[in-house]
């Protein structure tokens, strides 16, 4: 197996990561005790709290791996991994900055102009500037290269954008989007549609942008439709190379898919279930807790390996696809497995915290295996790693 593209070397132990892990754990315990947040499931989608994001920024826990000249802290991906893991395990409100810190910032670092980096990255690292992902459209989901949002240069060299993006998490709280648009015609052949795509850095306050809410199953407003109607995006807001959008978006997806949020979205439910199993001592509950924990432990090892690969300068897109497939399946299975061994109805109004956690996790569950690439798409990538495609 070591010769295939799926297996990464084990992560070396990182004392610095364990140190910052304890610092974050202490901080979270204090914030919980002070009541500044309460634990919820899937808070990297639903927990928007700019004050909390700014606190993380002030402690140096955003933009952790970026160069200091851009507001970063030049720490390792392993240290960043420990920080994100602790935040997710606590169900902390991290949604405001999550996309910016995870993928938009790294994308800007890689492809942005010096002016773009200087202007935006320090604000992301401070927890003050939030991003959305501008990929999916009403008619383009898994077939991302079929997008129809267009941008054409006007006489001033600016881009005039028309079209719509959907499932745009927290656009109503965000400042910028990295928007994938078609700027040129597709080429010939099956991969020809990858040509002519471009990423633009779009200020969401520009005239002509309308943000329409789309409510998810629990009634929460996180998703949006973002409509672009003759939006004039300055020419210097081109991100990277015109026509290289597909290549850039693939790199961005490697960041999007590689983190611990791909198996920890329902951890707060498992934590609540752990309390229950400890209190009852019920053998069936303890066995379920052990079985789920064994899966979580394996996923941690895989995710740590990805963080270590990022530290080596690799972009492990195929292993990341595998971990996201296995991890998001686990997130859904947590709901099913827990409810089999407790007689607690899932309800957002439950007097029992376990009932509330079950309800939150269940109502968010369909999203786990869709967002950031469906598991069918991911398994196709894994199959490519196995040499089948």
């Amino acid at each position: 197996m070591s010769s295939n593209q799926l297996t990464l070397a084990p992560a070396p132990p990182s004392e610095a990561a364990e140190q910052v892990r304890l610092e974050v754990r202490q901080f979270l315990a204090e914030e919980l005790a002070a009541g500044t947040f309460t634990t919820h499931v899937d808070t990297w989608l639903s927990g928007v709290d700019p004050d909390f994001s700014r606190k993380l920024g002030a402690r140096g826990w955003l933009g952790m791996t970026w160069p200091r000249e851009y507001g970063g802290h030049e720490r390792t991906a392993m240290e960043r991994y420990a920080v994100t893991e602790e935040l997710l395990a606590a169900g902390a409100p991290v949604a405001a900055h999550w996309i910016a810190d995870r993928q938009s910032g790294p994308n800007l670092l890689r492809y942005g102009t010096e002016a773009q980096r200087k202007e935006i990255l320090p604000r992301i690292a401070a927890g003050e500037c939030y991003f959305v992902i501008g990929m999916s459209e009403p008619d383009s989901g898994s077939d991302l290269a079929s997008i129809r949002t267009r941008a054409a240069r006007n006489a001033d060299g600016d881009f005039v954008v028309n079209g719509a993006k959907v499932w745009t998490s927290n656009a109503h709280h965000s400042h910028y989007g990295i928007v994938l648009v078609r700027t040129g015609p597709p080429g010939e052949g099956p991969r020809g549609k990858h040509q002519g795509l471009t990423q633009l850095l779009v200020d969401l306050s520009l005239p002509g942008i309308t943000v329409n809410p789309i409510r998810i199953l629990d009634g929460g407003h996180h998703f949006n439709e973002v409509v672009f109607d003759d939006v004039v995006v300055p020419g210097d807001m081109l991100l990277g190379t015109e026509g290289a959008g597909w290549h850039q978006v693939t790199a961005e997806l490697a960041f999007e898919r590689s983190g611990p949020e791909r198996f920890l979205s329902t951890w707060p439910l498992l934590a609540e279930f752990g309390r229950r199993a400890a209190a009852t001592g019920d053998p069936a509950q303890l066995a379920t807790l052990g079985r789920l924990s064994a899966r979580a432990l394996a996923l941690r090892q895989l995710s740590l390996r990805i963080a270590a690969a990022l530290d080596r300068g690799e972009l492990p897109d195929i292993p990341a696809a595998l971990v996201k497939d296995v991890g998001t399946t686990f997130e859904q299975d947590v709901v099913d497995e827990v409810r089999r061994v407790v007689d607690v109805p899932a309800s957002l109004d439950s007097p029992d915290p376990l009932g509330r956690a079950l309800a939150e996790a269940q109502l968010h569950a369909p999203g786990y295996t869709l967002r950031g690439g469906t598991n069918e798409i991911l398994r196709g990538i894994v199959a490519r790693g196995l040499g089948l495609r």
Partner: protein, 357 residues
Amino acid sequence: MSDQDLVVETVRDILTGHEPLLLTADRPWDEGLWADLAEAGLTGVGLPEEAGGSGGELADAVAVVRTLAAGAGAVPVAEQLLVAAPALLAADLDLPSPEEPLTVAVDGAVTAEPSDDGDGPGRFTLTGTAVDVPWAGVAQHVAVLASPPAGIEGAVLAVVDTAGLAASRAVNLAGEPRGSLVLDGVGVPGALLSPAQAQLVRARLALARAVQVSAALEQVLAWTVQYAGERQQFGRPLGRFQAIQMELAEMAGEVTSTAALVDAAVQALDRGEDTVVLAAAAAKVRAGSAVEVVAKRAHQVHGAIGFTQEYRLHHLTRRCWSWRDEGGNELVWSRALGAGLVAGGGDDLWPALTRVV
């Protein structure tokens, strides 16, 4: 080339002369393979030279075990290198010669009483029946984990020479001997173990089986990918069909997850961490549940040929179906893991989890 690469290459070279056997009552193990491994010093890898071993690290011993598991080698190497010999060494007991197969018995009803048979201190009399003994009737020595004398906690670990002992014939799903040994008041060297030390012996056996499962499943995946690339239906290789790709990708997820956790548990054992029992428990549970998916999908993709003794697949799938049961199945170890993770209180599941590996 690392030390482990060299070890793996040596074992593979030896395996090329020993195709997997269909085990029977007349041929319960691969004696020729054992002889070749012993001659090359591979049955003492990871054991210190001063104790009669070949030297090397735990990682080297794991590499030997993985390679033999993937090759369906019918020899008691996992039991010897990863369980019995290290347990005896940890208890300050003398090792038999690594060239003589040594196994381990942790199940059954065997009691140990201190004996004064004139052979000095550290002698015990064992009485009872050890059950599900790997390679019973094949191994020349057994490290037996026995109940301690009344009033003492923990266990007694004793070394039994099997010469003259009757072994009942019982085999696992792959035909590997798993019979019982009747111990009728035999006087043997032994040592008292604390409850934690006794549990570590059990954890070693669980982890050894998890290592074997992990390696075997990697091989099963590789065979299945290869088969899907070669077998043509409807004018194209099976692997071109999306339905088959989904099955293989799911297998890869299970195999990769298992390998990562098993590696981490082996490292925890190597570092002597006090969480090693929980790490081994998690590895065994993860490996066992991977068998469900990987063996099922592998047989599905292989079709009817994989369901026959003519084809190689069964050598590994049958072993995996048994290895997941042996040394404690998923139920046993998932309860132990769940209880262990909340032993300090139900509020600390996450910190407890991050300490395991």
